[in-house]
């Protein structure tokens, strides 16, 4: 789990630098500070379990086993990227790993994850579906429609809310009249809890319990994990709407050093072993960068491919 968290952190730091340098276009929403949730949750999952991700999705993809090279190439808009350069930062998917896509539409994942859970249950497998989403998306109708159906049909879906306390620039207190989003489960007769999202062991344990229940046919769970994003909403957003003291206080709760201390204090890993992992992760990121850099841009004709399984749109004369 430490290695995965570190991979996400390094990947995101790298993306941040390259975005600032203009090598990565578009919108980039980084997961720095929230790594414990994706990693703790996905550590309970098999390759054939499903996840749906968000606009802040790099962490989920890495945690579910996504390939750093293909991810980096996608960010660079290259042909070798996960989506052949057609998706970008917000739309990475990998069917083989059950990654049903990062999604640029706030709240869309609730429905897709619920549908995937319905499919798993219908097909008689014990696969589960984990839906990652933010605090602000719980004000969308999709959240409520999905919670109602999942509960009604007893679907194997785990709703994992990454409450980073802000919907873009609007603090939670200014977008909903509740403190704990887990309260919303009451209205759907669904078990729920709120826990520390910056402690990977807590996340691992709580999601693990929910996954076991889902696999056993006992239906959905809503889990809310409080966390904080260390960067702005997107790269280029200064985050000036957040009080300095709040940012400082949360930086003290950074999930990575917390896990490092835990590993060292309990004699699970030595400082040398940690350093070795850091070096390996650095090397992986370097390889991903080289791969992305060396890859070609997509061919022009690919712009109208993959729209349908069997039709090619005409490249019209403009």
């Amino acid at each position: 789990m430490y290695r995965k968290m570190l991979s996400i952190r390094k990947f995101e730091k790298t993306a941040s630098v390259f975005f600032a340098e203009g090598k990565i276009p578009g919108f980039v929403h980084l997961y720095i500070g929230e790594e414990a949730i994706a990693v703790g949750a996905c550590a309970n999952l098999r390759d054939d379990d499903y996840i749906t991700s968000t606009h802040r999705g790099h962490g989920h993809i890495v945690a579910k086993g996504g390939n750093l090279k293909y991810m980096m190439a996608e960010l660079f808009g290259k042909e070798t990227g996960y989506c052949k350069g057609k998706g970008g930062s917000m739309h990475i998917a990998d069917a083989e790993l059950g990654i049903l896509g990062a999604n640029g539409i706030v709240g869309a994942g609730h429905l897709i994850a619920t549908g995937a859970a319905w499919s798993a249950k219908y097909r008689g497998t014990d696969q589960v579906s984990v839906c990652f989403f933010g605090d602000a998306s719980t004000n969308q109708s999709t959240f409520h429609e999905a919670m109602n159906l999942a509960s009604l049909w007893k679907l194997p879906v785990i709703f994992v809310c990454e409450n980073n306390l802000y919907g873009i620039s609007v603090s939670q207190a200014r977008h909903q009249n509740i403190q704990d989003i887990s309260q919303r489960a009451i209205g759907y007769g669904m078990p729920a809890l709120t826990a520390d999202g910056n402690d990977v062991l807590t996340v691992y344990e709580k999601v693990g319990e929910a996954v076991s229940r889902a696999r056993a046919g006992e239906g959905p769970t809503l889990l809310e994990f409080k966390t904080y994003r260390q960067h702005g909403h997107f790269e280029g957003d200064s985050g000036a709407y957040r009080p300095k003291e709040e940012v400082e206080a949360w930086l003290q709760k950074d999930p990575l050093p917390r896990l490092e201390s835990h590993l060292l204090e309990n004699g699970i890993l030595t400082e040398e072993e940690l350093e070795a992992i850091r070096q390996e992760v650095e090397e992986e990121i370097r390889e991903a960068l080289e791969f992305a850099d060396a890859s070609p841009y997509p061919a022009p004709e690919s712009s109208v491919q993959d729209i349908y399984s069997d039709l090619i749109e005409e490249a019209r004369i403009r």
């Binding site: 499903y50 749906t52 990227g81 996960y82 989506c83 052949k84 350069g85 057609k86 998706g87 739309h91 990475i92 998917a93 990998d94 069917a95 049903l100 896509g101 999604n103 640029g104 539409i105 869309a108 609730h110 429905l111 897709i112 994850a113 619920t114 549908g115 995937a116 859970a117 319905w118 499919s119 798993a120 219908y122 097909r123 579906s129 109708s141 999709t142 429609e145 999905a146 109602n148 159906l149 009604l152 491919q305 993959d306 729209i307 349908y308 399984s309 069997d310 039709l311 749109e313």
Partner: protein, 323 residues
Amino acid sequence: MRKITYGEGIREALREKMLENKNVVLLGEDVGPYGGTFGVTKGLWEQFGEERVRDTPISEGVIVGASVGAAATGLRPVAELMFIDFLTFGMDGLVNQAAKMRYMFGGKISVPLVLRLPAGGGISAGAQHSGSLEAWVTHVPGLKVVYPSNARDAWGLMLTAIDDDNPVVYIESKVLYSQKIEVPDKVAPIPFGSAAVAREGADVSVITYGKQVHDSLKAAAALAKDGIEVEVIDLRSLYPLDKETIFKSVAKTHRALVVTEEVKRGGYGGELSALISEQCFDELDAPVVRIGALDSPVPYSQILESLVLPSVEDIVKGVKEMF
């Protein structure tokens, strides 16, 4: 041969595919024991059971959105919305998810879902239950859109829709549900993008689909008395579009009239008209004419509704003005 209704044509296709493939499932409001608002799914719940014919809460967002998730993970859901007007609640799942997923993800994920949407006016259902919204869906790359006009086509197009690996919007004309025609005991799948020539004629091509096929045939019969021979093209499939049949017909008749029930402003009829004008300019002896609804919501009162929606008389008049 036997006589069946348009609604039964849809049902026969659903039944056939459900028997063939257990991953074909139905969902929607009242599709279960009740048999569907318009009776299309009658008997299927009894035959296939609760797991395969699922009543849902009145939540169009989740009907469409969960179908997307299910379709991306191995099922072939056929989702019914009670009226096309309620697509507003399901629009994100259809337009931002289903239609774009294959493309955004570089061809790695398929979304083989069918969305059934009863459309059109003519039954005093009022402004929120009478929509003709084909322009909304034909405008979206990634979606296929079909619109049958009779029981045989309803059956054959549904077979193809369920087998298709892309999201298919299957629009149904609700005033046609009880229309009966003779069909063979077993209907073959009708490939998308193949229009039918509903009537042959040498003087003018009427390009249309759905209920307006019937109106156009009535208009053609009336015009024949005046010596004008109308060719009626039933598109059946709006995307992919059988341009070849349209162009061939226009090359023969040198006149084209497009008839759709939608509000004319920004409608799919405009797309058809522009296409013919662009591609068949040298063949045309007159500008392409569009017949559609007035730029108005659909009113309730019968007298007003018949005024707002296009009629047989409107088609007759439109054709006559071309000569």
